[in-house]
Symmetry: C2
Subunit: 577 residues, 2 copies
């Protein structure tokens, strides 16, 4: 697997090249970030033709390695104006890998007023076809039409109206194994980048393709077997996540006093039980939904689910903790049914749920919608799909933008990206990640919730400063490496707790490519990714002044622990490579 496919979206031309030279040996986030660093002018307007959208499969994607089917999508972020890698599940990446495409690069852009186009890739051809009939369609309807045209075996990467309308909170959605566009590269407004290039969807069909060749088949099989065992035997990846999905965290984080409630005013939500993973699974079982499923073939964690309404009708899948928190505790909406509709609306319009939950809370600060009013919040959210609805455009542009639009100065963002579901005052390790990540506020960039709360991979006091900077730094390096393999980030729970896990990952990479890859190389690879990203950001004008949380976290004590955010920018610099 070594090809890069470049598509000029203005000329409607395509070309393959070997992923050699500076791109040799890179996959996933390592590849997207290197291409962006090398090829995108850091100070360009993110929606200009100079920006590029890069989708990359990981080094292990397409193999039998468990949970190796994630995809990295990168570009200069329309939201943060810095580099961005947004990571998603779905079936797209494995099909890319089987088509022997490691990276897909969308370049240039058509003139204003051009029709949207669809890129179709199979083993014989690359076609770029006009698709005016898809303009403005939601992702669910788009996928229906694309499946009719291209068949149900295809994997689809698609933007909704939000991306087409160039909204900064827009996502890129990916289809799951049942063809639903419920998986999202949500963060950083990459949907707008794809929309600016007038690409409505990319469809990959791997019919007739084989899995990538292994340099050492036997060694790979042995390592992959041990790998699956490591994942299934760990209590988090083997039991917790499969049982209740990621929403198992609602009760855990609430108990820890760190579930951000009412736009980060409190750490406990009175109605946490109503939106908990335990309650969600109860409802799913009552209504004939699916309590556990994977986002791609080969997933052994199965943290996903299918959520249905009271009539037993499908609403959404990939209904994550972050989403439930964002539209739930953070807005004080306690009705899981409304929250599921909001998740569905985001998937369909093509919006980041974390960004939108924060944005609605910011709008609630100004009384645009009352706190806790689910139906009104859902209606507000749906306005984002109408390009002529200016409040909708404001909301769809995210929390920082909405704060500016409405004159709210209490806006939980870092580098303009909204905060995830862990209050940084009481989970300080993840707070350090929010502040210092190359991505803006991003829990997945260095998930110190492990050490702070779950006590996986260490035990660091979540309420005090000590140890959290070092922990975040180590995790940011490891995460950048994991994001380059195509492995799901959740493998980290098991990897951090299992002595030979990193060795096994290195063995798989070695056996796949016939090289000597060591656990030490994993860390080196992660550091190299972060250095690429920091270099891009610096040249784009993002400095350490942006490595800090908004001031209200340093001024308002968070109940119940009454902690504040107390790191200086200088202290936080130690978390950077």
């Amino acid at each position: 697997m070594s090809r890069i496919l470049r598509i000029n979206t203005r000329e409607k031309t395509s070309s393959f090249e070997e992923a050699g030279g500076d791109y040799a040996g890179l996959g996933g986030r390592a590849l997207t970030s290197r291409i962006i660093r090398n090829e995108v002018p850091p100070t360009c307007h993110p929606l200009s033709g100079d920006n590029k959208l890069v989708a990359a499969a990981g080094l292990l994607t397409g193999t039998i390695a468990a949970n190796s089917g994630r995809i990295s999508v990168g570009g200069k972020s329309p939201l943060t104006k810095g580099i961005k890698e947004s990571n998603s599940g779905g079936v797209f990446s494995q099909k890319m890998a089987k088509l022997d495409i490691l990276g897909l690069v969308l370049e240039d852009k058509p003139d204003e007023g051009a029709d949207p186009a669809v890129i179709f890739i199979d083993k014989d051809s690359v076609k770029i076809e006009p698709a005016p009939e898809l303009a403005g369609l939601g992702t669910y309807d788009s996928v229906d039409k694309l499946t009719q045209k291209y068949g149900s075996d295809a994997g689809i990467m698609v933007v909704g109206p939000a991306g087409e309308n160039l909204l900064l909170g827009s996502s890129i959605q990916f289809t799951d194994p049942r063809g639903r566009p419920s998986r999202a590269a949500g963060r950083g407004g990459l949907g707008a980048l794809m929309g600016s290039k007038k690409i409505k969807a990319v469809v990959v069909d791997d019919s007739g393709c084989k899995a990538p060749e292994m340099a050492d088949k036997d060694a790979f099989r042995d390592a992959a077997k041990r790998w699956a065992k490591i994942l299934t035997e760990h209590p988090v990846t083997g039991q917790g996540l499969p049982s209740y999905g990621t929403s198992i965290l609602i009760n855990i984080i609430n108990e820890a006093g760190a579930l951000p409630t009412k736009n980060f005013r409190e750490g406990r939500f009175e109605f946490a039980q109503d939106i908990s993973g335990e309650h969600m699974v109860e409802l799913i079982n009552e209504r004939g939904g699916v309590a556990k499923e994977g986002c791609h073939p080969g997933c052994v964690i199965q943290c996903s689910q299918e959520f249905r309404d009271k009539e037993g009708k499908y609403v959404t899948s990939g209904f994550e903790y972050e989403t439930v928190w964002a539209f739930g505790a953070n807005t004080t909406i306690k009705d899981l049914d409304v929250i599921s509709q909001m998740d569905r609306a985001c998937d369909d319009i093509g919006l980041d749920t974390i960004e939108m939950g924060n944005t609605i809370a910011v709008a609630m600060e100004k009384g645009i919608v009352d706190w806790g009013d689910g139906p009104a919040a859902l209606e507000l959210l749906k306005r984002t799909g109408d390009p002529k609805d200016y409040l909708g455009r404001i909301i769809g542009n995210g929390a920082a933008f909405t704060g500016e639009a409405l004159g709210v100065d209490r806006v939980p963002v870092v580098k303009r990206q909204a905060l995830p579901a862990y209050d940084p005052r009481s989970v300080k390790g993840v707070g350090v990640t929010y502040a210092t990540s190359t991505m803006g506020a991003d829990h997945t960039a260095g998930y110190a919730v492990c050490q702070n709360i779950l006590k996986v991979g260490g035990d660091i006091d979540p309420l005090c400063k000590g140890g959290n900077v070092d922990t975040s730094k180590a995790l940011q390096i490891a995460t950048a490496a994991v994001d380059s393999t195509g492995l799901c980030l959740f493998v980290a729970f098991a990897v951090l707790d299992t002595e030979d896990a990193l060795e096994v990952v290195a063995q798989m990479i070695s056996a796949r490519f016939g090289i000597e890859f060591t656990p030490d190389d994993v860390s080196k690879a992660g550091t190299a990714v972060l250095k690429d990203e920091l270099a891009f950001n610096e040249a784009a004008g993002i400095t350490k002044a942006g490595d800090q949380l908004p001031e209200f976290f340093s001024k308002e004590k968070l109940p119940p622990h009454d902690t504040i955010w107390d790191y200086t920018i200088e202290e936080l610099q130690q978390a950077k490579v």
Copy 2:
């Protein structure tokens, strides 16, 4: 003149202090920028209580020195997020000086929902009084009510609905000698900063106060006499500006091929004559307006005017070249009557005309209003006054914000502040200033139009790179010094061409304070101001990556000269101190 008056807008308390220590010897921009650098956390949210709004009289303000009544207003800019000094005419500054107040500092802010307040200052007292009756009023109506209450001798600093609604394009308006709020500290959204502190207006009444004492009365009088002569004898300050106002530049800059037309697409406007200063003066004379007047007592340049409608009714005053260009050539509106209504609307709602003209052009890029459609543009502009009109809020937040809201990537801003009325591709010296100023795009920060086009103070080719970086740097230093004296920037035309002018300015400062101030000290003072500003900006996260024009200036050739913008960021760094 040595007192600083601090007002805590939350506690409604005030206190005087001597302007000593680090603030000794500073006036105008030197004082606002030093206070902001010393006292405002650079990374604070501009609308949080941590930001401060500082208004400062110049070192010569309140004296008989011609054209010395300008005011500097500063803070962390809600628009650029960097330091800001916005300079205005009007009678406020001289009255401050006569009250022996050099600087006025508004601190902290009241809670959400507090009533607006009015600060009244006279020789006996400082009062901070609730003024709910002024909430949401335009500046003209506000001034009417304030004059009824406080008398017509007062000088008024006031925000309109735009400032109250915290819009990023909002101005602070000042009353002129006839009590009209037509003078603006327009740039950088400082109206929103004042609005965030819930101060609707500051009223200063200097009744019973004397002019400041001179250390050497005779020397001051002699120098001031020579100073007035220098200004009245120069062709620009003595004839050009008094005859046609600043709009004399319409034909000059159009002829030079540098009048930005249709959102910076061309350098000549087909209907330039219709909006020229010559035509404006014709209309004024026909309709019984006033063709020349000053913005403050003691002005000998008299570049202002009173513009009336076809029925002879007052529309606006202080109707400047930048405004006429912004709503005229840049939007291709050719009707001076509509343009005058747009100026009036901006003064009344409290908005920066340069920012709004650019913003409307950006909206025209998306067809929100058709190119050249004056009535529709005026209607769009007026929507900014309604806090519940979301398109109005978008427009009122300026060009960069509107570009993001509507998905336009061809947006002429630097550091989020919209470009003034000289195309940087064909007036490269002022382009260097736009790119490198601490203020964002700002012609007044280093007006190389002098050397490029007017051939005042030098002769530097406007179309080529050579010499323009050095010219801009020298002008930026000189301007920072001039902005600290309270002198009108237009004195520069005469100063640059008159051998003893700088010496005379130094003599006035020396005689005023009884110190030895030399022409060399002027340059040192200017450099010190810029160093304060650069230090603040760096700590706020504004780096050299922001010292550049949007990429379209480097890609699109500007007719008629077919020039492009061709400086690298590294080359531009040489323009900074």
